[in-house]
């Protein structure tokens, strides 16, 4: 999970990635604020976002099973779940891979330039993050289920965040 935070500009942008069992695999982001209190509130934010994410998944699944019992529709569903919810200060987006790895991206509600982040941008960012994640776990020396400690991955994710806004 990545925290991308530009606290200097009052904007935060952060990503998280979670396994099915909902333990965090990677938390990271951009920003120069490593204060414990802020880290705490950031983690609360991502953790509580899982509620919305799971609810979304559950309703998606029941829709598919209700309408069509075979699994093709589940497989074809959009991995990008869109805006999960927004608070006064943050917007939280979700993405779930086919293997139920959950990616959560948190941005501040307003960007410094005043323009809002567009949905398409978030979608692209999460897609690319998914690709990066796939690369990272292809590493034979990575243990599935462990936290991702790869420096390269961390750097790439941070780059992704910086370039995307």
């Amino acid at each position: 999970m990545t925290t991308r935070s530009w606290w200097r500009h009052g904007e935060s942008y952060r990503m998280s990635r979670l396994r099915t069992k909902n333990s965090p695999l990677y938390i990271g982001g951009i920003g120069n604020d490593t204060n414990t209190d802020n880290e705490l509130s950031r983690q609360w934010l991502v953790h509580t976002a899982l509620d919305a994410l799971e609810e979304r998944l559950a309703s998606n699944n029941s829709n598919t099973t209700g309408a069509n019992t075979n699994n093709t529709r589940t497989d074809l569903r959009d991995l990008y779940l869109g805006l999960l919810y927004s608070t006064d200060t943050h917007k939280i987006y979700g993405y779930v891979t086919n293997t139920r790895i959950k990616l959560v991206l948190v941005t501040s509600s307003t960007s410094p330039s005043g323009s809002n982040i567009r949905d398409a941008e978030v979608r692209t960012a999460l897609r690319r993050l998914h690709a990066l994640y796939a690369d990272a776990i292809c590493n034979p020396f990575h243990l599935p289920g462990d936290q991702i400690t790869s420096l390269k991955f961390d750097k790439q994710v941070k780059n992704l965040m910086l370039n995307n806004v």
Partner: protein
């Protein structure tokens, strides 16, 4: 739902109650007259929502209506003293009925008809006199006996009714007949609806009156009146149950209020009234089934007033006000949901309660920054005493509109009084109760994690209000969940707070358990000071006081030391800690060496122990608990024959336990139940760390030993991670080491004695006693009954059945026990099946 906490920002009940048209019933003697009582009960009791929106009030003869204010012809010189009068709503909902109904007992064919009609008319007149000035309508109900009049008297009834109307000067549609007998309830409901119609008519008339005032107003001096009149129109329409018109007028009132100039002196009044109007607006929007508009209204309301802070000395009032806006809205939302509105995960009352709690936190912060000097209530006269005529006005300057304080000294005293009251206010209780409301909502709307976060916030609040016991209980439950989901950062936060609580309340059991978990590699502690935690555990073992946790409140800490002094000597002397459920600094994996054991084998259990915290644990006793179908045994774990073992960090230790299976457990399973480590086994106080093993838990282990081989530089504990625990083993019976060998020379001929030699060999390491052999012949389809056609004998030619002798078989000796056994054979196929029993 938990009840809302109250404070000075509470909405008055008349704002919260749903307005109902007021109908006065007169002439009913509910105390002495059974029939009247029945009628009154039918009106007043059991008011279900499907009945008309009216409220009945029993008027006695002495009831007095509020005095009517003289009509104002011109507003030119009139300057309003405030926005909304406190008593206006009260008057409308309980003092001025829309309709007064006179009940009168009379039969159409009454003999004293003339007297009756005069009495009735005089009663109507006295009511008219009482309502003088109000436009209250008057209606008459004639109570009659149940039996319907004979047809010949229909005309009489009609005539007399007309006469009555004329005498009382009422319209014929305001005269009703209530036959008292069967179907009372049905008549009552019809009457009720009729009254309701009259009431609506009355309220409509009243709104017209108010609308007329508007022409006289001008925006410069009468801005308050624009608000007041629109509010009144809204309220009257609400009484009339015309909700959308009511909403329209309230909206005008709200917008007019926004246009008023606000300064510090009237800020409180303006926002108080704005809050009430907003509440009405939202309530109506929910009632009109427009929840989205309601939510939008609240949002814009907060947005507009967020920055209208008023006097900075009373900043806390501003936050209290915002918190109340949210909580009141939450309540409205909750009511709407209970009435059938569907809530969703992202939009439900919980969020509003949460905001209310957050703003109450801000309120406390503001209190801390501005009220620090208000140490004492100002001396009398009490500046907060006094009658306030308008909502939201200050007792010390009622009805004054000028912006500058007229009496700076009084003003100062009043501010001091408010600040003092604020200091004395129990913010934590309020925050906790808001959080409680929010938590139950989040639980309802599928947000378990949000709920957890709020529970932790609630626990923090208990911590601030020094209720450490409650905080600890909440935190221990939450810690469990965060640990299970492996959100270690959050778990650490919760654990550290819980540890502080356990320390401050001197709960030794919790303290030790949390300390042990605090040493886990996953948990981050403040200042990374795990040594202190370890020292504290050791101190407890030595019956000494532990060091204080960092960042605890000073006054509580002194008390905590006292608690500890008494607690440290007391029970429980033995502290049991369940290690499986917590993440700790000690990891254990037990493993049977084989999957299966025979009865005569020695069962061996390997126990791998890893200590992840950098220390050496000396003099630890350890036990392994094994359970089988017949018994549960405890086996001490030893190290080189010594029962005291020591554990070093970053080394994996292996211990071997051996035991013999119980003969009764043949064919069953043996389970490893528990492994306990006893710290301080030589001391009075002991800490027993129990690793209870549940069979199902070990199955979903997340370890993939095969993958660990890929790790570039194997970790030091590679060995440990690779071990897959094996906690169940089956015991089977021992293998028999006797063997039998049968020798004969087939074929056997019919009628011939057929010699067969049985050789039994004993390979056991001890002799076998009391052996019995049984020989029987196997039947076949050709020969269904071999016993009848075959003779067995030990000696050739002897036809008596042989009795096989029990013989001792010596150590490893092979002995021919049954020699020269002959069989006289008649059929062709002979099978010999020797059996033996031990």
């Amino acid at each position: 739902m938990a009840t809302q906490p109250s404070d000075s920002t509470d909405f008055p009940p008349e704002i919260i109650l749903k307005p109902l048209a007021l109908i006065g019933l007169s002439g009913l003697d509910a105390v002495n007259n059974a029939v009247h009582k029945e009628i009154w009960d039918a009106f007043a009791n059991n008011r279900r929502p499907d009945r008309a929106a009216v409220r009945f009030k029993l008027l006695n003869n002495t009831f007095e209506f509020p005095v009517v204010k003289p009509k104002r012809n011109s507003y030119e010189w009139y300057i309003p003293k405030g926005i909304l009068k406190k008593n206006w709503i009260q008057k409308r909902i309980s003092l001025i009925p829309a309709v007064v109904v006179l009940f009168y007992d009379m039969e159409w064919n009454d003999l004293q008809w003339n007297e009756k009609i005069i009495e009735c008319a005089s009663k109507v007149q006295s009511i008219r006199a009482a309502v003088e000035g109000h436009a209250t309508r008057v209606a008459v109900v004639v109570i009659q006996g149940g039996q319907s009049p004979p047809p010949s008297e229909y005309m009489l009834g009609a005539e007399r009714a007309q006469a009555l109307c004329a005498a009382c000067e009422i319209q014929s549609k305001s005269l009703f007949v209530l036959p008292h007998g069967d179907h009372l309830m049905g008549y009552i409901i019809r009457l009720e609806n009729a009254f309701y119609d009259i009431a609506q008519n009355y309220y409509h008339h009243e709104t017209k009156n108010i609308k007329q005032h508007r022409d006289h107003l001008n925006k410069t001096t009468h801005q308050y009146l624009f608000v007041r009149h629109q509010f009144k129109l809204g309220f009257l329409n609400e009484l009339k149950q015309d909700l959308s018109t009511a909403h329209k007028h309230y909206m005008h009132a709200y917008n007019n209020l926004l246009e008023t100039r606000t300064v510090d002196t009237n800020m409180h009044e303006v926002r108080t009234v704005a809050g009430y109007i907003n509440y009405k607006l939202c309530k109506l929007l929910f009632a009109l089934n427009l929840p989205r508009d309601g939510i939008a209204q609240l949002k814009s309301h907060i947005e507009r007033y967020k920055n209208r802070i008023g006097s900075t000395e009373l900043l806390f009032e501003h936050y209290a006000w915002i918190a109340r806006q949210y909580s009141a809205f939450g309540e409205l939302f909750d009511e709407a949901i209970r009435a059938g509105l569907p809530g969703i995960q992202t939009q439900h009352p919980g969020f509003y309660y949460q905001h209310a709690a957050q703003f109450t936190v801000k309120r406390r912060q503001a209190m801390r920054s501005v009220c620090s000097e208000a140490a004492q209530y100002p001396p009398p006269p009490d500046p907060l005493e006094g009658i306030v005529e308008y909502y939201g006005q200050r007792a010390w300057r009622p009805g004054r509109l000028s912006a500058d304080p007229h009496d700076p000294q009084k003003e100062q005293a009043a501010v001091l009084a408010l600040q003092y009251n604020e200091r004395m206010f129990n913010h934590s209780a309020m925050i906790i109760s808001f959080l409680g409301c929010a938590i139950s909502q989040f639980k309802t709307f599928h947000s378990p994690r949000m709920r957890k976060q709020l529970v932790v916030e609630m626990a923090n609040e208990y911590y601030y209000s020094a209720d450490y016991g409650k905080a600890l209980t909440l935190l221990s439950h939450m810690l469990w969940d965060y640990r299970r989901e492996k959100w270690w950062f959050l778990a650490s936060h919760v654990l550290n707070r819980a540890l502080q609580c356990a320390y401050l309340s001197a709960k030794i059991q919790d303290y030790v358990q949390l300390s042990i978990e605090g040493l886990s590699k996953h948990i981050q502690v403040p200042n990374n000071d795990k040594d202190r935690i370890f020292r504290n555990i050791m101190a407890i073992l030595d019956m000494k006081l532990p060091e204080s946790e960092p960042d605890v409140p000073v006054h509580s800490q002194n008390k905590a030391v006292e608690f500890w002094q008494t607690a440290i000597e007391k029970e429980p002397v033995v502290l049991n800690v369940d290690m499986v459920n917590i993440s700790s600094f000690l990891e254990v994996k037990p493993k049977f060496k084989q999957q299966r054991y025979r009865m005569d084998e020695i069962v061996e259990v390997e126990i791998y122990v890893r200590l992840t915290y950098k220390t050496v644990l000396e003099a630890v006793k350890a036990f392994l608990t094994i359970s089988s179908a017949s018994e549960t045994i405890e086996i001490p774990i030893t190290q080189n024959g010594n029962s005291l073992i020591s554990l070093e960090s970053s080394k994996v230790k292996r211990f071997l336990c051996q035991f013999k299976p119980n003969p009764h457990d043949n064919g069953s399973e043996i389970h490893i139940k528990n492994i306990s480590f006893i710290m301080g086994s030589d001391k009075k106080r002991k800490i027993v760390m129990n690793f209870k093993i549940e069979d199902n838990k070990m199955l979903d282990s997340t370890i993939h030993p095969e993958l660990l081989h890929f790790i570039l530089s194997p970790k030091a504990d590679f060995e440990f991670d690779c071990i897959v625990p094996l906690t169940v083993v089956s015991v089977t019976s021992r293998e028999c080491k006797l063997s039998i060998d049968i020798k004969n020379c087939s074929p056997a001929l019919q009628g011939e004695w057929f010699p067969t030699t049985f050789t039994i060999t004993n390979n056991e390491d001890r002799p076998v006693y009391d052996v019995r052999f049984t020989l029987s012949l196997l039947s076949s389809p050709d020969n269904p009954n071999p016993e009848s056609v075959t003779e067995l004998s030990l000696k050739e030619g002897n036809t008596t059945p042989p009795r096989l002798q029990a013989t001792v078989i010596g150590d490893n000796a092979s002995q021919e026990v049954v020699r020269e056994m002959f069989d006289k054979i008649f059929p062709q196929n002979i099978f010999v099946m020797p059996k033996y029993n031990k």
